[in-house]
């Protein structure tokens, strides 16, 4: 068909260093379609996306089979710079997205690489500024931008050469609910302009109502659903199209909770007390207490001060006002495990937390890492590193454990496993979870602390009666982003 922009025929890829890969994938993508590429971790999503954006075989070595056609040209035989002329890519992490540190430099970078004249570059910058609302964002340091602003710049860069096909790799992984919904509106706008968008993601609530096609990856092969409805009827867990339809609480999702059920009759042990704490203009007059035996979720938009509060509690930074009292140093699990692993093997990593070989072995076994105990932590996959971090939290003898976005980039099954393990920690410690993940919060949280503009706006026990307050907070985050965009 003439409106087909991309067609895969029996597309396959086998990594040169392992037997993993994808096989026999055939599908067609038409002009102006929004295509969701989803599937569980390890199903081959990333491999297929790398085949599409050209990083396979340009960067990742292996054997590619089949065809990936654009018109009568085979993408597999084209050089990377030829593909980039009609295809833009937005990566998951801002750190991996940008080549320079300045917004204008980044915008003109692809144009310079293709030899555009200064006059043409100025003209194109003007067009992009209007199209993506970049007023006030030009000639700025990328590290000083908010996540929403960075996303705008990333999008504008990806379409700087006037590409008609845009690929997103897990764009929602680092976004709060409001920012993800705003991204959904941006994608809708691109679709209306005739730009074809392919989004690879585990979560897809922000694509509800605008998805034209779903490519579901399973064990390296794709199943193609021609509409959102067809996908919803496929039997795959598609709850994430409508977050607020989730029922129940707790790990099973079948727990019913009435107001006051969480309250203990015995006095609770306070392990963290924050009193009127302020830090620069990020956090203002924040007060709350954390108790042993509870899992509290700290929610709020990107940049509202959640991680700053965690760092204040850990003593990494000092409050400009107020007092923080914790029962010993909290155990803080950062979002990126790569900064937190120092051992020579998975076993040694846990031994550094607790010198008890038997207990370490038991924990490794319970986390499914028994076979990997001699592996270097950096040789583990992302999910395995995350499990190792949870193992550290299980073994530590701290009264307060803080997790920063523990489910970022995880599929639904992995999220449930993390929720189960965090749930088990409440027996020995107080757990504070910083999270944007609505489903995960419903699974683990006993209590919700909602931060808005650096202040505690709401603090309540999570139950059927307070569910509206949680849903309201998420909708407020969306409204805030809508107003900012407007």
């Amino acid at each position: 068909m003439s409106d087909t922009v991309l067609e895969a025929r029996e597309l396959g890829f086998c990594y040169s260093e392992s037997e993993e890969g994808i096989k026999n994938n055939s599908f067609k993508i038409r002009k102006g379609e929004v295509v969701l590429l989803t599937g569980d971790s390890g199903s081959g999503k990333t491999t297929l996306l790398k085949c599409l954006n050209g990083l396979i075989p340009s960067v990742t070595e292996g054997e590619i089979t089949g065809q990936l056609l654009v018109g009568d040209k085979d993408l597999c035989e084209m050089k990377m710079f030829e593909k980039n002329r009609f295809m833009g890519s937005v990566f998951q992490n801002p750190r991996t997205q940008f080549f320079t540190e300045n917004t204008t430099s980044e915008l003109v970078f692809p144009m310079e690489n293709y030899g555009m004249t200064k006059a043409d570059m100025d003209k194109r910058i003007g067009e992009l500024r209007e199209e993506f609302g970049l007023d006030g964002l030009l000639d700025r340091n990328i590290h000083t931008l908010s996540s929403g602003e960075r996303q705008k710049v990333a999008l504008a860069c990806a379409l700087a050469l006037g590409q008609k096909l845009l690929l997103f790799d897990e764009p929602s992984a680092n976004l709060d609910y409001g920012s993800a919904m705003r991204l959904g509106r941006i994608i809708k706008g691109l679709k209306e302009k005739g730009i074809t968008v392919i989004v690879a993601d585990h979560r897809f609530y922000y694509l509800s109502g605008i998805t034209d096609k779903v490519l579901l990856m399973n064990d390296g092969s794709v199943t193609c659903y021609e509409s959102e409805e067809e996908f919803k009827n496929s039997g795959y867990d598609t709850r994430s199209f409508d977050l607020f339809s989730i029922k129940g609480f707790g790990i099973s999702g079948k727990e019913e909770r009435k107001s006051g059920e969480n309250k203990r009759t015995t006095p609770r042990e306070c392990v963290g007390k924050i009193t009127d704490v302020s830090y620069k203009n990020i956090v203002s007059d924040v007060s709350f207490e954390l108790y042993k035996g509870e899992v509290a979720a700290l929610i709020g938009s990107n940049g509202v001060g959640k991680t700053t509060l965690a760092r204040l509690m850990c003593g990494s930074i000092r409050p400009t006002k107020g007092k923080i009292k914790t029962s010993g140093m909290p155990f803080y699990i950062m979002q990126d495990p790569d900064y937190q692993l120092f051992g020579t093997s998975a076993e040694n990593e846990l031994m550094m937390v607790k010198k008890d070989a038997d207990e370490v072995r038991t924990v490794l076994e319970s986390l499914g890492l028994k076979d990997k105990r001699k592996a270097h932590p950096f040789d583990l996959s992302g999910g395995q590193k995350q499990r190792l971090q949870i193992g550290m939290a299980v073994l530590c003898d701290r009264d307060l454990i803080i997790f920063d976005e523990p489910t970022s980039g995880l599929d639904s099954k992995s999220m449930e496993k993390v929720a189960t393990r965090i749930n088990g920690l409440r027996n020995k410690s107080s757990v504070l979870v910083i999270s944007h993940d609505y489903e995960f919060i419903r699974r683990v949280a006993d209590r919700v602390i909602y931060l808005e503009e650096g202040r505690v706006k709401d603090d309540y026990e999570l139950s059927e009666d307070t569910l509206d307050r949680l849903n309201g907070a998420f909708r407020e985050m969306e409204m805030k982003q809508t107003c900012e965009t407007a």
């Binding site: 990083l55 340009s58 080549f99 540190e101 692809p110 144009m111 310079e112 690489n113 200064k118 570059m121």
Partner: protein, 222 residues
């Protein structure tokens, strides 16, 4: 206030030539010339914070060195002080390359002297990796503190191991990430790359180089 724009190539040249000149000229002259030259350049480029850093480090280290030698102390530590005194002006000028110029500007300037594209890309990524390295060092050091792993000079090898291993692994993944970011934006496109930022070799650049060369030449005469 900024009085002078300098082509990054001028700074690259100065940084290549300055250290090697210590072999040929009197160090006692060269160190003062480089200090004066770097200070003037920083003033003209409006980089006053760096100027204070340069003068501060230089002044403190020079005072310690003079006091030590006045007391008759000559050992390996005083040799280190001499090395710092001689090279701190070069390091401060090199830091301008990292902070004052974007990757695009560096790429354009380096391509202007007709270096091969692979050399230009490698040099640009190396220069731009330094701030990333500093950021990552901060994260790892904080993480060590949170894990209760001390970063102490009493056990330097152990501390160094804990710090360097994650840094090396991060370095490997950063290389892959930066390569991917460059490739999807056509960094390997053949043909002449254009530049949004004019990096022509100006009269002012020639003047800066002439003053630098004159100063070095004076070292042979004095």
């Amino acid at each position: 206030m900024k009085f002078l724009e300098v082509n990054p190539i001028v700074l690259v040249l100065i940084n290549i030539v300055s250290p090697t000149m210590y072999i040929f000229t009197k160090a006692s002259y060269l160190q003062f010339f480089l200090l004066g030259f770097a200070a003037c350049l920083l003033i003209l480029m409006g980089s006053f914070k760096r100027l204070f850093v340069l003068l501060g480090i230089y002044g403190v280290v020079y005072a310690i060195f003079e006091t030590s030698t006045g007391l008759g102390v000559f050992n390996s530590w005083t040799s280190y002080l001499v090395v710092i005194i001689e090279f701190v002006p070069c390091l401060v000028l090199a830091s301008l390359l990292i902070s004052k110029y974007s990757s695009s500007q560096l790429l354009s300037a380096l391509e202007g002297v007709h270096l091969p594209r692979t050399v230009v890309i490698a040099a640009t990524i190396t220069i731009k990796y330094i701030p990333a390295f500093r950021r990552e060092f901060g994260y790892i050091k904080e993480s060590m503190r949170l894990r209760g792993i001390p970063f102490t000079i009493r056990r330097p090898l152990r501390s160094f191991k804990f710090f360097i291993v994650p840094q090396l692994f991060r370095c490997a993944s950063l290389t892959e990430e930066v390569t991917a970011a460059g490739l999807v934006k056509g960094i390997n496109a053949p043909g002449r790359r254009s530049s949004y930022y004019s990096q022509r070799f100006r009269v002012s650049d020639a003047l800066v180089l002439a003053v630098f060369a004159g100063g070095l030449a004076a070292g042979f005469v004095i």
